[in-house]
Amino acid sequence: MMGKLKLGVFELTDCGGCALNVLFLYERLFDVLEFYEVGEFHMASSLHENEHYDVSIVTGTVSTHRDLEVLREARNRSNYLIALGTCATHGSVQGSVEMPIREKLKAVYGDESNPMRAMDSKPVVEHVAVDLAIPGCPYNKEELYQALMDIAKGIDPVRPDYPVCVECKLNEYECVLIKKDLPCLGPITLGGCNAVCIRSGLGCIGCRGPLPGEVNPASEYEILRSKGYDDDYIVRKFKTFARWEP
């Protein structure tokens, strides 16, 4: 067998969920470790090898100059870079506060000075080129597992290209938008989550970002308006996870 691929996991500013979700592969993590050797994974390990990585995963948004330095290092040292999770691909929730950084600091810390060098939160893809973007807040861990296995075997990972509604219908869930008048972004959101929130009988909140290509947000907007949701509600709902589109 050939040598194992060197894997780096780098966390920028986020909730920790995307790194944690790697650990939630449980026993299958050991399958991944048949092909990969972990060089850097600060949540799980005290090792820092800081050298070359065959594959790197970056989670989170760039929210400080430190994040930007870590991201550039990861990019420069890695052959294949994966932007993992909606923070890294679309900016997610912290990327959606539309206010200049100094005003935000003033509102939260009572002072607009910036000794810790905070920046406006932006996704990884706004700063560097990536080889693969896997969105989701959090991403579907099956998708990451498959992607890591594919990359190890030299196969280009398959990316979902259909809305959440497809998986909702395959599961035969009742349409919560039409039947229950709940705000559901399923028709315009990238699938791949197996419509997990509709399983709870609730509407999709759009955590995987907008479906690229043939989506029809205008129609979604009209439906939500007809259900009694106001402009402000709809606009904020649309932008919650994906103010930055890749």
Partner: protein, 415 residues
């Protein structure tokens, strides 16, 4: 001279410490939270209450349900909505799942490598594979409960003001009752293993917790008088950190498993109570390092309590009815025990049900001052005695005992 230590590892989020040396002595230690600010309170201002718990859950993945439950409770209290016991028991069950998941991650995958001298659990698995597998199995069980109540392992949206999107079925509750009993043996073994750690760090003089075991109407401290947070906790900003620091009567205090056991031991389940008595002498010294042992005892509590709740709900039958929620102008505070301690969500709402004010105080922010005094004590004992590598390792162990959640701690707000 300032010695800047490398970033902490095997903790959740990005943080580091710097040690201030003057005249050859350790003068001060500063805990720097370098995770970027995330402005969660700004994100929810003006937003309709219905979407708020789902957004607040994103503050932290390890304790997302604690955030959504605290958010839901704060919103319900602002509207004057009261929910029946079925709903509070199910929320408590979700919090128990989260506690199991979080404590298992912390003890087996992050702390155990310190016990056996490995850089991480993956490398530890070569010699102690069984232990790693036990930890993973417990964590997976906790996550199954989180998925059942919360809707997903991470960031599910099933917990809503007034109830749930989906209620568990009889079969699902039976599985929880059965499995929680089966895991008890592992948890008791964990208590024996983690009883060997410590003491290190500082002794805590004050402890804070919610009045019920995993959530509350108010907070309590040593005197057991209940109070709202603003009556006894003051917050201050720090120039060197994105976290704010909290003090109790001007002094550092501790929140987390150790505080819960010491303040609310009488609420524990039988086997957990017995283990608390067995280790009470050690735990009552107040050394923060015994928080690891306290977490292991809470694994036993969580499994026993999960079984109790499942049984109660099965005996009564699930009605699955939500309470209607009428938005109105109001103010409410949700108090929850996240796995790593007290979590506070405070809201004011307007008559349309939109958020007008929000203040979120997280356990690691509450513990921030206590972490610093513990680091100071350790650094003073170690400086000049060991090399820098050893010092970082030992200081990391001290920080790790708090089970800090740095992602959570970075967005405290006062408008």
């Amino acid at each position: 001279m300032i010695i800047e230590l490398r970033e902490f590892t095997r903790v959740e989020g990005n943080g580091k410490a710097e040690i201030v040396i003057e005249d050859g002595e350790v003068k001060d230690v500063r805990l720097k939270i370098i995770e970027g600010p995330r402005f969660f309170e700004l994100l929810t201002i003006g937003r309709h209450y219905y979407d708020v718990p789902d957004i607040e859950a994103r503050i932290c993945a390890i304790c997302y349900l604690a955030h959504s439950v605290a958010s839901v409770m704060g919103i319900e209290r602002a509207f004057g909505v009261e929910v029946p016991e079925e709903i509070t028991l199910l929320r408590e069950l979700g919090l128990i799942g989260e506690l199991l998941e979080s404590h298992a991650l912390h003890l087996y995958l992050l702390v155990a490598p310190d016990v056996f001298g490995y850089p991480d659990a993956i490398r530890m698995a070569s010699k102690h594979g069984e232990l790693v597998k036990e930890g993973i199995a417990l964590k997976a069980f906790g996550n199954r409960i989180r998925e059942l109540i919360g809707g997903r392992e991470i960031h599910g949206i099933n917990v809503k003001p007034g109830g749930f999107g989906r209620y568990p079925t009889t079969e699902e509750l039976e599985a929880i009752e059965r499995e929680s009993a089966a895991f008890l043996r592992l948890a008791k073994r964990a208590v024996r293993l983690f009883a060997s750690l410590g003491p290190y760090g500082e002794k805590a003089e004050h402890f804070l917790a919610t009045d019920n075991y995993l959530w509350g109407e108010k907070l309590i401290a040593e005197d057991k008088e209940s109070f709202h947070y603003a009556e006894r906790i003051e917050e201050r900003s720090l120039v060197y950190s994105f976290a704010k620091q909290s003090l109790y009567g001007g002094e550092p205090f501790f929140v987390g498993s150790l505080a819960r056991l010491l303040l609310k031991g009488e609420q524990l389940t039988p086997e957990a109570k017995r283990l608390l008595e067995e280790h009470r002498e050690k735990l009552s010294t107040g050394y923060v390092s015994y928080n690891n042992l306290a977490q292991a005892i809470e694994l036993v509590y969580a499994l026993e309590r999960a079984g109790e709740i499942a049984k109660t709900l099965l005996d009564r039958g699930i009605s699955g009815e939500n309470v209607p929620v009428e938005p109105k102008e109001g103010e409410g505070i949700g108090y929850v025990e996240a796995p790593r301690g007290v979590l506070i969500h405070h809201y004011r709402t307007d008559s349309d049900g939109k958020i007008a004010y929000s203040n979120i105080i997280t356990p690691t922010a509450l513990n921030h001052a206590m972490i610093e005094v513990s680091l100071l004590k350790e650094a003073r004992a170690l400086y000049g005695e060991v090399d820098e590598g050893e010092m970082v390792q030992r200081l990391e162990e001290t920080v790790r005992a708090f089970d800090p959640c740095i992602s959570c701690s970075v967005h405290l707000v006062k408008f």
